[in-house]
Subunit: 389 residues, 2 copies
């Protein structure tokens, strides 16, 4: 008699925002990068993907639902993750014949984000990290997060960093098969828990160039890019790791802003040029630079991914001042519900705040957080189908 049991495992996984940017692949199939990168994992209270992985001999095909919608999973990215995870499970089953043959069953995956998928909020990183973590839990795989990061990377490069909380490096590796291109924890969230992040969501008229095609165009055409990848980033990685270990926010901020600008520089140096930041993004840069100028020290750091949204890092001790300044431009923007802020310093040029009033559509106030968390709540019902809400 065939085993009709439905096996499930559920997890949540976080978004991460890089402070040393991933841009450029040396192998597009394996998502092997041209330089190492480093990110801060953000709190799942504000941004997370919740995923349930289930399998059963009774399932007829692999499926993935995201926010209630059936997704196409025939692409090489999803296929690679499923194949690699099944292969690890099959090895367990071969070593212990008493184990159920989950590796041969079809998978039903159900995912939900607690934030808008398309807002340019690194949803694919959280999504693939949750997918890999949930299936690994379903299969009871013994591999640690670094070992699993090799698989998540093949789904979406930056997803490998979302398998850890806190401060996470993705080491580029050197091997052709990518087996040494892995995520490692530089420091847990508890090492430097007072790191805060304000995400300023910028309304963009049009979606820009996708990061996948954008980074390949940069690799192919930018004459400044090789210098960034080979010379600038390796040195910056070392300095950033040291800054995080020493909880040196000024250096962290300086490197974060420099690396964001360096990444957007090589985008501009691409033919045709790629622009992810717009005039509102630039206004956010000026707001932060002016804040640091009048403060006489770096108390905030902006960074921009492949889109116009600003992420501003700062420490909890400076929150009243940072949010007090931002309040001048963001007071009525959804998500900016704060109290106990400081007044804008007298010498501050508040004209820099003006473009934010019209240009920012939403604010998310969050901070550093934990890696994937195993949860009880299943998104798959007892019938093996997604639960309707």
């Amino acid at each position: 008699m065939v085993d009709q049991k439905i096996y499930t495992a559920s997890t949540t996984a976080p978004v991460n925002i890089a402070v040393i940017k991933y841009w450029g692949k040396r192998d597009t199939a394996l998502n092997l990068p041209t330089n190492s990168s480093l990110s801060v994992t953000l709190s799942q209270k504000d941004l997370r993907t919740h995923t349930t992985a289930s399998c059963s001999a009774s399932f007829e095909s692999d499926t993935l639902h995201l926010n209630g919608e059936l997704q196409n999973i025939s692409g090489p990215r999803q296929t690679a993750c499923f194949r690699e995870l099944r292969s690890l499970r099959a090895a367990l089953e071969a070593a212990d014949p008493s184990l159920p043959k989950l590796s041969t069953y079809k998978l039903h995956i159900v995912s939900e984000n607690n934030f808008p998928t398309a807002a340019g909020l690194a949803s694919s990183a959280a999504g693939f990290a949750a997918l890999v973590r949930a299936i690994a839990d379903l299969y009871e795989l013994p591999q640690n997060p670094t070992e699993l990061s090799r698989i998540a990377r093949q789904g979406s490069g930056s997803a490998c960093r979302s398998l850890f909380g806190g401060y996470v490096a993705w080491e580029q590796g050197e091997k052709i098969d990518g087996s040494d291109s892995l995520a490692v924890e530089i420091a847990p969230a508890s090492h430097w828990p007072d790191m805060k992040a304000a995400i300023l969501v910028v309304s963009a008229a049009k979606k820009g160039v996708s990061s996948t095609s954008g980074m390949q165009a940069t690799v192919a055409t930018s004459s400044l890019f090789p210098h960034r990848a080979r010379v600038v980033v390796p040195q910056r990685m070392e300095e950033m790791i040291k800054a995080i270990k020493e909880r040196d926010f000024e250096t962290f901020a300086d490197l974060t802003m420099k690396d964001s600008n360096s990444f957007h520089s090589v985008c501009l140096d691409t033919s045709p040029p790629i622009f992810y930041m717009n005039d509102v993004s630039k206004a956010a840069i000026r707001v932060v630079e002016e804040l640091n100028r009048v403060s006489g020290r770096k108390i905030a750091a902006y960074t921009f991914d492949a889109g116009p949204n600003a992420v501003i890092y700062y420490l909890e001790k400076d929150e009243a001042l940072v949010l007090g300044v931002l309040k001048g431009g963001l007071e009525h923007v959804p998500g900016f519900a704060v109290s106990g802020t400081a007044a804008i310093p007298e010498e501050y040029d508040a004209s820099f705040l003006e473009p934010l009033k019209e240009g920012i559509t939403r604010v998310i106030l969050t901070g550093v957080g934990e890696g994937p968390i195993s949860v009880k709540e299943s998104l798959v019902g007892e019938d093996g189908l997604l639960l309707k809400k």
Copy 2:
């Protein structure tokens, strides 16, 4: 008895727009650059400075009027030009005692631009080129334009290129005293006379960082800049000179756009980042990139100096098409009076033209032109004062 005669010489000098950009000084006093650059001299029919240099034993002090306003000439830039030119005249006088001692007389200089000075149209280049050329003519100096370029460079770096018409390189030189940092003619205007330029003047809310302070901030802080100056530009200079000699517009266009983007990349890589282009500038880039895409060849090339204005180079044979497309966004903009344009190609994405409608305040349609021209019309009256108009 003292010679009361008023000696005068008048010249006009052109604007030039670089296609390989000057950005970064290795010596700020002498205006010695960190890389060579190359420009196209634009026609004086549309953009020129007219300057009369006069001197007399009866003049009591050196003066400079620009557009009717007395200028401060105590700065090191003006002082250097006056000193160097007087020194060359003094050498002539020492060799031939019959010459009047003009080197000992005070100078009255009067200049007028036929375009708005502050619109970011490279007025300082034309201004210092006209100043040096007019005084050299007044002093009857035997030095050729390359020799005079050493002096004009000390007034304003890019002014050295405005001493020639056509296609002009400024060779960076290696010597500490700057004696080999000179402008040379790559090809006269007559070599490739069908080069056209459309200048799109963008309204900028605020004047950005001055190029003098901006380039020094880039040299001091950008980690991509040394690679641009040492590796990228030297190779690009060679390719550009070859393209001009061979009248190869596609290569000319490709290098022009790449070098403009490279220059703005190292501005963005500066701490704090420098932005000269705004969203309207970027729209102009997209308009040109789209035109080249649908044309299947590079028929136009954009370039941006230290400001938001776009300069678009194209050949006369493509004028109907280039202006036909631009007409879709610029028809009602002052200066855009054209006839006989082609229709916008069907596959062209005309939405790229929308931001130009509000963002461009003026258009100047011009082309490659001649170097400084000696003229009869004097801006100084018989009393040694500026002529009132």
